[in-house]
């Protein structure tokens, strides 16, 4: 589905954060050796939602191009697989996490690029979240190497 409006983009971001948060909570339960990291990532997801929503609700204005700011994004490009089948090994789960992170980072970067001339502080919040999430990948990869 094509994204046109800011509201759609914010909802998609929230949905990605929620789904990936649930995924990390499931990982924490299943793989206690890295429980602390997974729970901290899930917690950080909630903060990301707050950050993005605060930016959106803070600057949304009838004068800005809210209904046209994200034209060209497509939800299908950012769908993430978070179902953890029974018997998934620790390494495979970590690889899934890396793929999820890359997809969500891409969403935030694409969203920031699309809206940079139109939506004031929203693209900046998107970039901040993308940066935060990018820091996760080396952490996940180091767990992979250790595992």
């Amino acid at each position: 589905m094509k994204i046109n409006t800011a509201s759609q983009a914010i909802s998609l971001g929230t949905n990605l954060e929620d789904k990936s948060g649930d995924f990390y909570r499931a990982l924490a339960q299943r793989y206690p050796q890295s429980k602390e990291l997974f729970l901290s990532l899930a917690q950080e997801n909630s903060k990301n939602v707050t950050k993005v929503k605060r930016a959106y609700y803070g600057v949304i204005s009838d004068a800005l191009e809210g209904c046209f700011s994200f034209s060209g994004l497509n939800t299908d490009d950012y769908s993430i697989e978070t179902d953890l089948p029974e018997g998934t090994g620790y390494s495979d789960a970590l690889r899934m996490a890396v793929v999820i992170e890359e997809k969500i980072i891409k969403f935030y970067l694409d969203g920031a690029e699309k809206s940079k001339a139109l939506m004031a502080d929203v693209p900046r919040a998107f970039l901040l979240v993308a940066k935060k999430r990018r820091e996760r990948i080396p952490k996940l990869e180091s767990l992979l190497e250790e595992g």
Partner: protein, 494 residues
């Protein structure tokens, strides 16, 4: 990402808010409709003259105590209201969407603007300070004090049911006046919701009052002998009448009226950023705002013109029209069916006058299964000339009139030839063009690479020619001056 939840679950029965009480009206009840779904949202009264008078009386009685309340204490009420508005931000926004029809992004934008009025007026201890000079003669000092006047009112339009009254009343009550709001009868629920929050915020009874009604209620407010000043947003025809009545009664007035705005596009503009700004300007709020673009004047040769117009038409043709609660929607319905009928007539007239209908918004393409009574798609005319009724009259709907000009000078002259002067914009990457436009254009609000030149709460909302009647404007320092009298004192202590 779907259709958001409805904020109103059952039909409301709206009451007046007078002297801190919810008072049932004896007036005739009518239905407030959701223009997208056709569902009845509320039963609202056309308040009687006596009820309107009671609201003014309550405001008058509340005034002496409220003016003696310190500015700091008054601002604390506004701080509390701001917090409550933030807490209820999403619900308030959804109410606007269901009663007006605008998209959820537009409603949230409107709520934010309203909250900003509250924030700015909370700074009243600084904003209301006077000034002084010692020793105007030896041992004699002189100073100016700003004092509130009494009761003010707002006669509000339908197009921004939440925001427009807040251009005025937070500044009025912050400066120590009391206030009566009369929302548009078409979409009064937002103001009722605000009154509920004002009650919770702790404004004393009578400081803020809301009376529901139509023309009779409006005239009763304007003509009331205890009314010190009137604020109005609406059409030029009605605005002139209210201005005349207010002047006859020696009252202050801010009268913001109709528009027929021009957006100039220079060939050196950033096309990628300009097109979304144009879509927002012409079709945002379904064209129902006094800052909406009405004429797109394109300067430049045939190649630029053709490519640019193709891009504009293509973008407009692909706009998602639907219910504002559907997050995909980029343009909602007109606020009511007779407004749609008026726009249909405008389109007919445009065709008869010889303009070329390049995009026909009468051919409906609406997402979802909703009655079509209020929906229109965007329309675009080409070959429009300044004398056509498309240009000389306010359309207030999703119609874009494209004109051509050989250079900036001609484009400015065409815009300045129009009787209205509300908000005109230029799109260019050339600073000299931008400055020339800003310098010469006869309009109250100027946009440079901005489609909707809407002033923030700390700046006045401009307007010239047949788009504004009065001296001081709403918002910002103008509002502080409007709602206060300056008293000059000279003192000597021999």
């Amino acid at each position: 990402m779907a259709i958001l939840g409805e904020p109103i679950k059952e039909v409301l029965k709206l009451k007046n808010y007078i002297n801190g009480e919810w008072v049932e009206s004896k007036g005739e009840l009518y239905d407030v409709m959701n223009p997208a779904t056709g569902k009845v949202l509320a039963k609202a009264p056309l308040s009687t003259k006596e009820e309107v008078n009671a609201a003014v009386e309550a405001a008058k009685e509340a005034f002496p105590d409220w003016r003696r309340t310190t500015p700091l204490a008054r601002s604390r009420c506004l701080f509390r209201l701001k917090e409550l508005l933030e807490e209820n931000f999403e619900e308030l926004s959804r109410v606007q969407t269901v009663e007006h029809g605008k998209t959820i992004d537009e409603s949230r934008g409107e709520t934010r603007r309203g909250v900003e009025m509250c924030e700015v007026s909370s700074g009243i201890p600084s904003l209301m300070m006077g000034y002084n000079l010692e020793d105007i003669a030896t041992g004699i000092d002189e100073y100016v004090i700003y004092q509130p006047l009494g009761v003010f009112c707002c006669i509000a339009p339908f197009n921004f049911p939440f925001m427009v009254p807040m251009w005025f009343w937070p500044f009025a009550v912050a400066t120590g006046n009391t206030f009566v709001v009369k929302p548009s009868p078409r979409d009064p629920i937002s103001q009722v919701k605000i009154a509920e929050l004002c009650d919770e915020a702790g404004f004393p009874p009578g400081v803020i009052n809301v009376v529901l009604g139509g023309a009779e209620a409006a005239i009763t407010l304007v003509d009331h002998p205890d009314m010190k000043g009137v604020t109005f947003v609406g059409t030029t025809k009605i605005g002139k009448d209210i201005y005349t009545r207010a002047a006859a009664g020696g009252k202050r007035a801010i009268i913001q009226t109709s528009a027929s705005n021009f957006l100039l596009v220079m060939p050196d503009c950033n096309v990628e950023a300009t097109i979304p700004a144009l879509m927002t300007s012409f079709f945002g709020n379904t064209g129902q705002r006094c800052l909406s673009g009405q004429q797109l004047v394109i300067v430049g040769g045939d190649k630029f013109y053709n490519e640019f117009v193709d891009a504009v038409v293509n973008t407009a043709a692909n706009m998602k029209v639907g219910y504002g609660m559907d997050e995909r929607t980029q343009m909602g319905p007109m606020q009511r069916a007779d407004a749609k009928r008026k726009v249909l007539q405008v389109i007919e007239n445009g065709i008869k006058e010889g303009a070329k209908l390049r995009l026909d918004g009468r051919k409906l393409n609406v997402m979802g299964d909703y009655p079509h009574a209020c929906f229109l798609n965007p329309s675009i005319f080409e070959d429009v000339t300044p004398d056509m009724s498309l240009v000389t009259e306010e359309i207030f709907g999703p119609v874009m009139n494209i004109m051509r000009a050989k250079d900036l000078n001609e484009a400015i002259e065409v815009a300045n030839g129009n009787r209205f002067g509300n908000a005109n914009s230029i799109f260019t990457s050339n600073g000299k063009n931008a400055r020339e436009f800003q310098y010469r254009i006869e309009t109250g609000n100027v946009g440079i690479n901005i489609g909707i030149a809407a002033p923030m709460a700390f700046f006045p909302f401009g307007g010239m020619k047949d788009s504004f009647f009065g001296v001081l404007h709403g918002q910002g320092r103008d509002a502080i001056r409007f709602f206060t009298e300056s008293k000059v004192a000279i003192q000597r202590w021999p």
